[in-house]
């Protein structure tokens, strides 16, 4: 792999030398040790860690469209580890730690910007909830600060502290290490690094079936022919149910639309990630200058990848409830991704009832920030054929067992309420 660096960039610029491809245009081999279905952030990261951590290099990543065409390129780029429920706290902190060294590990600048996230509280009860979250974080070695109203006002003087505010700000929980990442770069960086370790990235390769027998799965049928594999992993958020059905599995997952919104680019306006407490809404500003908004899912099963307009109105209302001055800013674009929603808002990384078939999905709102840890833990789970300790709580059987909840906000068992 040609290493990227400033001297090399200058050298190429001055001599106008061509750059090599970031990843090869691979042709499918007949057999791989591991086939990963889904060339999004999760699938590519898994391939990379299989090769880098476990020396498993005969790996193929199969992508129906172009790599990064799913949610890794449609999200609001937020990374954080302010999780409260046992299991998630440790997993997302592990992920954030990986984010912190990712640009260097991949030799690809994913632009981790640890600008800090403030989750606002608007009532004494909400502040108690934030305190429980923050205390849990600190007790698990994750930094957190509980801010009162005055401290929030000093940090974010432009929020609405006027008597006209419908939900007055009582305080907030700050995680300084939280922030944003350039989302597309994650897919590309993992692809490039995995490719350099010998992983085949097969774009335009759609899986139409699994080769199954009594011993489990031993390959996949694709639009580019039959590909044999010792082990097969699914990382196809949004379409998990459709792929799993091909292997005869029914999942605790429903597909929902989550919209994201971006405004026109403006000069620096908001320096943090800010989460509203009265409704699910958060914002940050991209390095390019656009304000990026996220909200709640549209609320009903859908695969259309186009959102409903009332959500855009609701998001604009939340934005103005936080910062009334944004009224004059213009919405540039809104789009939707299909995300797996689960009955407890928690994900799955596990073996399945089909031998040699591994499943990763059900990430709800948190798939992007989980990317490095998913890759790490799924690779480990595949390589050892046993769940990595950090993901033992992320099994498919947990609803039948009634184990400890992963439901961070207590929304109950409805997929569409999380």
């Amino acid at each position: 792999m040609m290493r990227y660096s400033l001297p090399r960039l200058v050298g190429h610029a001055l001599r106008d030398r061509p750059w090599p491809r970031a990843w090869r245009k691979a042709t499918p081999r007949s057999h791989y040790d591991v086939v990963i279905v889904g060339g999004g952030g999760h699938g590519l990261a898994t391939a990379y860690y299989l090769a880098a951590n476990h020396g498993v290099r005969r790996v193929a990543v199969l992508e129906r469209s172009y790599i990064g065409s799913g949610n890794v390129g449609r999200n609001t780029t937020l990374v954080r580890s302010n999780y409260m429920m046992n299991g998630s706290t440790q997993f997302f902190e592990f992920s954030l730690k990986l984010w912190e060294g990712l640009s260097q590990a991949l030799n690809f600048n994913v632009m981790l910007s640890q600008r800090g996230q403030i989750v606002l509280g608007h009532s004494p009860a909400q502040m108690d909830g934030l305190a429980r979250r923050g205390n849990t974080m600190l007790l698990n070695g994750i930094e957190a600060e509980l801010l009162d109203r005055g401290q929030v006002q000093r940090l974010l003087p432009y929020l609405d502290y006027s008597p006209a505010a419908r939900f007055p700000i009582a305080g907030g929980l700050l995680q300084r290490r939280a922030g944003t990442v350039r989302h597309d770069a994650v897919a590309w960086g993992y692809a490039r690094a995995a490719d350099s370790l010998g992983v085949d990235i097969l774009e335009g390769c759609e899986v139409s079936g699994f080769l199954l027998d009594a011993g489990g799965v031993h390959g996949v049928q694709t639009s580019r022919g039959r590909i044999l594999a010792d082990r097969v992993a699914l990382a196809v958020a949004g379409h998990s149910s459709q792929l799993a059905a091909l292997a005869g599995l029914r999942l605790p997952i429903e597909s929902h639309l989550l919209q994201a919104f971006v405004t026109e680019p403006i000069k620096p306006f908001v320096d943090h990630v800010i989460s509203f407490g009265a409704e699910l809404f958060y914002l940050s500003q991209s390095d390019k200058g656009g304000l990026v908004f996220g909200g709640h899912i549209d609320g009903f099963n859908s695969f259309t990848q186009r959102g409903q307009f009332p959500k855009a109105q609701g998001v604009a209302q939340c934005a103005l409830a936080l910062i009334p001055g944004m009224s004059r800013l213009k919405l540039l674009r809104h789009w939707a991704g299909i995300q797996d929603m689960t009955p407890d808002g928690g994900p799955f990384i596990c073996r399945t009832p089909v031998r040699n078939l591994y499943f990763n999905g059900g990430w709800c709102y948190q798939g992007f920030k989980a990317t490095p840890a998913v890759g790490w833990c799924l690779a480990d789970t595949i390589a050892r054929d046993e769940e990595h300790p950090l993901v033992r709580c992320y099994g498919l059987e947990r609803f039948a067992q009634g184990g400890a909840s992963l439901d961070e906000y207590g929304h109950g068992h409805w997929t569409y309420r999380h």
């Binding site: 004494p124 026109e264 680019p265 307009f309 001055g325 009955p343």
Partner: protein, 994 residues
């Protein structure tokens, strides 16, 4: 050049009798009514109006419409400042203040232009390859500079003084765009009698016809159609209105700008109106936008779209230069050349095609326009203004330079397929017009005019007419007029459907100089080549890697050129390259317009109890409780909540208090099977509850965890009065309806929400009965007549009162429900009746603290993550009786005795306090991890003289008496506490049975 020097003496659609004074960067300028900011600036000879995003290259206007990539300004000041406004669509008004952007100190001289010196390094994707060291946090350092350099205009945080409104419309036929096709379509549909809504983003109807000379031959036709449309009663026309998107269910979202009317927010007038319109049929007559050609330095001020130059000339009476070169690959640009020729010094046409229509060359000759066929422009001279061009014959003969001060460019036309693509139908490439056209139309949608890739005026009129008839028929209106409107006179013989375009995508060697594909985001041909080298060649990778088409213009002018150039690099056909997805909104839309009136206190509706006004008038400090506002505390008891709630509690414990509990959900359950219904719903039984008795009940959801709790009273054999928590009221009501309507329709039972019908008042304290005896003379409220959990339906002042004896506070207490309208009267009656006993109102804080002392669960404890056992209420369930959630509540791990369950906590350290959100550990535990539990509710107990709390602890009450640690590392605190029963006060219930 002096101000006003580019204004042509006569013609145009401006009103020279109405000057408009405005300013740019403090410089006072004058234009006319009918001008846009852009036309007024061009008239004043202002050529550099902005700096580009990355290289800070000087830029001028390129277009005359919504596709403008360069001419962006910050308008207005203070609370009205709006960044990134396109000067090409801003109507000139008196006093308009515009400021240029992204330049320091000025657009004429901008330090940012040093970026141009290192431009080769700032190539596509450069930031992915560097800024990774020396430390892991290095990016945070570089980012500060990059962020400051990025962004266009600056936004302010000041509140917006303007108002915005939301409208809803219904129509039969929606016609989007009032160009010749749209006018024709609207007329066809309108004459049929259908309700027609014609929208036009411009202030005038006519579209491209407005760019024809106002004295020309198309104007009478345009005026005639406009007049007839205005005369049709069922045709409604919205000007200054843009369709932002077309969504499911034939719903279009429109934005109407009223800036030019100077609406007065104080008078309730809206600056912008967002309209959601539901149409039975939609006609897309959105036209096409002219696209640039790509050649080195094609971004210099003075390089403009040919059609824009013609618009400025004919509509705004502005000659954008004195010596024009027109570069084209199609016939449409000749109209600009021919219109310019009589008005300016010299016009030269440079046409990349070899064979030209004889009528064109003849007309050119007659006007003295020189035409160079098979020639390209391969370079531009001048930096802040075009000074000349380099002409290179296509066959490779020697280049030569030619002076000019204006370069008009036409690379062909791109249909505005955005709206027709919002539904998910991908555009398809139509080779003969070298354009992407709609790949199809959703049911009830029709296309017309240039959108269909047919660019002639005749086709526009014809396709519009047909679309109008079909759309009307779709709505059940058969045609009443067989005659299409006669086509405008004087259509040129070269006005053909595809303008005889011969597409060329990059001129003059892609790599020499900077040949821009995307002006606003500074994407060059070289960037595309780099993207290709590195494999970012699929259209979405290309866009994301180079930021192509991601600017405020959303690639309206740039996308197809980029796709074609990339297809060329890849050696594939253009259609194979595909297109990016078109995302709404079509043009950037203010968040204020999206939010409408849902701002400030109207962000979300406030629910108020019937006693709200009384509370406000009597010193209540209110607090949000979900959508409700409830009294938090009353000032009679203290100026701060910390003091007041203790005083209020003391009053309840020692005398009597009253509290507004109207926000509880109230549901009337009636029917012969009401008892069976409740038996299935609650974990505990209600069928054997005697009439006139109340019972506390808990509901689980299907998953076997907590849904809600509350008290339900049996008013009659077949009638119950249920109360729910305030937060859970709406959810429980829907759940009951679901069960009645879908799961158990065989049960003869009805449920009705009566939350708003009844005001609820709790009277609590040892003197509560004495108050009621005084307040309700003639009714026996003795312990015998009304024991604990008893209910009486009585009257006061001929008004029904539901009097239920139940207690949340642990005191002798009653809840009284009266019709909402009488709530205040009855509340005041209770207050005056209780005066001798010292009755006072108490708020939410005291209410919550009283119930903590009594160990009642609420708020944070009523949590769908928890089970009945977790709340210590397992004994309520009657296992022999089936109830919702019974089965899944028995899941093995939910039954574990080691789950955290409800305990009381008392603080053992004087001078310290317990806090909600603390994490609990055994005394011997290391303080790390998730602990054994957590604290949910805390209060100072004036009764016990210490801090007490409710919380959850692994193993629960098996640990009563143990000393544990409450960790609150956020404040660096660890406090010792003892586990107790959650019932701190009167465990035998002597007070409430008194």
């Amino acid at each position: 050049m002096s101000a006003g020097s580019h204004r042509v003496r006569a013609g145009g659609r401006i009103d020279r009798n109405e000057p408009r004074v405005f300013s740019l960067d403090g410089r006072r300028l004058t234009g006319y009514r009918g001008d846009t900011l852009a036309s007024a600036l061009l008239a004043a000879g202002v050529s550099v109006v902005g700096r580009s995003f990355k290289y800070h290259r000087p830029r001028g206007f390129v277009t005359a419409g919504v596709d403008e990539p360069n001419g962006l300004f910050t308008l207005g000041e203070g609370g009205r400042a709006e960044p990134n406004a396109q000067g090409t669509v801003v109507q000139l008004t008196d006093g308009l203040r515009a400021a240029s952007q992204n330049a320091w100190p000025s657009v004429r001289f901008d330090w940012g232009a040093v970026n141009s010196w290192i431009a080769p390094v700032l190539q596509a994707g450069f930031y992915y390859k560097t800024f990774m060291g020396p430390t892991r946090r290095a990016w945070m350092f570089y980012e500060r500079f990059i962020r400051r350099a990025a962004g266009l205009g600056a936004a302010r945080h000041d509140p917006d003084p303007d108002r915005y409104d939301t409208h809803y419309l219904f129509t039969d036929v929606l016609v989007i765009g009032a160009g010749p096709a749209g006018l024709s379509a609207a007329l066809a549909a309108g004459r049929s009698g259908a309700r027609v809504l014609l929208i036009e983003q411009d202030g005038l109807l006519g579209g491209t016809l407005l760019s024809d000379p106002v004295t020309g031959q198309t104007e009478p036709w345009r005026a005639r159609l406009e007049a007839e449309l205005q005369s049709l009663p069922e045709v409604r026309i919205l000007r200054h209105t843009t369709a932002l998107g077309v969504y499911d269910g034939n719903t279009a979202i429109l934005l109407t700008r009223r800036d030019h009317c100077a609406p007065d927010p104080g008078n309730g007038e809206a600056l912008q109106i967002l309209t959601s319109v539901r149409a039975k049929a939609v006609i897309h007559s959105t036209g096409a936008t002219e696209r640039p050609l790509v050649f080195p330095d094609n971004d210099r001020p003075g390089v403009m779209m040919a059609s824009a130059v013609r618009t400025y000339l004919n509509r705004y009476a502005v000659a954008c230069g004195r010596h024009a070169v027109v570069l084209t690959n199609n016939d449409s640009a000749y109209a600009a050349a021919f219109d310019l020729a009589p008005q300016i010094d010299r016009v030269t046409v440079v046409d990349v095609r070899r064979a030209l229509h004889p009528a064109l060359t003849a007309k050119a000759a007659s006007l003295g326009v020189e035409v160079h066929a098979a020639t390209a422009v391969t370079g531009v001279l001048g930096r802040t203004r075009v000074r000349g061009v380099t002409l290179t014959p296509i066959d490779g003969a020697r280049s030569r330079s030619a002076p000019c001060d204006l370069l008009c460019v036409s690379g062909g036309w791109s249909p505005m397929v955005h709206l027709s693509s919002h539904g998910g139908i991908r555009p398809r490439y139509q080779a003969d017009s070298a354009a992407f056209v709609p790949g199809g139309y959703a049911p009830g949608h029709f296309g017309a005019g240039a959108l269909t890739g047919r660019f002639s005026l005749g086709e526009a009129v014809q396709t519009g007419w047909r679309a109008g008839l079909r759309a009307a028929a779709e709505c059940g209106f058969e045609r009443v007029s067989a005659d299409p409107p006669a086509e405008p006179e004087g259509v040129a013989p070269w006005d053909t459907a595809n303008h005889r375009i011969e597409p060329v995508w990059a001129l003059g060697g892609a790599r020499a100089g900077k040949a821009f594909v995307d002006f606003q985001n500074d994407v060059t041909v070289r960037d595309l080549a780099i993207a290709h080298q590195e494999g970012y060649e699929s259209v979405e990778h290309l866009k994301r890697f180079t930021t192509l088409g991601m600017g405020t213009d959303q690639g309206k002018t740039s996308n197809i050129n980029a796709l074609a150039i990339m297809a060329g690099l890849r050696g594939i056909e253009l259609p194979e390259a595909g297109t990016t997805t078109f995302r709404p909104p079509f043009v950037p839309a203010r968040l204020g317009a999206l939010a409408g009136r849902h701002v400030g206190q109207h962000f979300r509706p406030v629910r108020r109890s019937p006693l709200h006004a009384w509370h406000l008038g009597h010193g209540a400090q209110m607090i949000e409780a979900g959508p409700w506002l409830r009294p938090w505390y009353y000032r009679w008891a203290g100026e701060t909540v910390e003091r007041a709630y203790l005083e209020e509690m003391r009053r309840v414990r020692e005398a009597v208090g009253l509290s507004d509990v109207s926000t509880l959900g109230k549901i009337d359950v009636q029917g012969p099977d009401a008892a069976e219904f409740l038996d299935r719903l609650y974990v505990n039984g209600f069928a054997r509850l005697p009439v006139g008795k109340a019972r506390y009940g808990v509901m689980l959801n299907d998953a076997g965890t907590i849904l809600d709790d509350g008290t339900t009273t049996r008013l009659a054999e077949t009638r119950y009065f249920m109360t729910t928590t305030t937060a859970g009221a709406a959810e429980v009501m829907s759940w009951l309806e679901f069960l009645v309507q879908t799961a158990w329709p065989e049960l003869r039972v009805h449920v009705s929400s009566v939350t708003d019908e009844w005001a609820g008042i709790a009277v609590a304290g040892p003197k509560a009965r004495a108050v009621l005896e005084r307040a309700l003379p003639g009714w026996d409220v003795s312990n015998e007549a009304l024991p604990h959990m008893g209910c009486l339906e009585i009257e006061w002042d001929r008004m029904p009162v539901r009097l239920i004896r139940l207690s949340f506070s642990g005191e002798l207490a009653y809840e009284l429900y009266v019709p909402a309208d009488y709530g205040t009267a009855f509340w005041e009656h209770l207050l005056s009746s209780g005066e001798p006993f010292g009755i006072r109102p108490y708020g939410l804080e005291a209410l919550a603290s009283l119930r903590i002392e009594k160990g009642h669960v609420a708020g944070a404890e009523v949590d769908p993550r928890l089970t009945l056992n977790d709340l210590g209420l397992g004994r309520m369930a009657r296992p022999e009786k089936p109830f919702i959630g019974r089965e899944l509540a028995a899941r093995p791990l939910l039954d574990s005795p080691e789950r955290p369950s409800l305990v009381g906590l008392e603080c053992l350290e004087p001078g310290q306090r317990l806090r909600g959100g603390a994490i609990l550990f055994a005394a011997s535990d290391e303080l790390k991890g998730h602990g054994r539990g957590y604290v949910t509710s805390v209060t100072w107990s004036p009764t016990l003289g210490k801090f007490i709390a409710l919380g959850f602890y692994a193993g629960g009450l098996r640990h009563v008496g143990e000393e544990i640690v409450c960790a609150f590392p956020l404040y660096g605190e660890r406090v010792r506490a003892r586990i107790t029963s959650p019932v701190f006060l009167d465990p035998k219930g002597e007070r409430l049975h008194a």
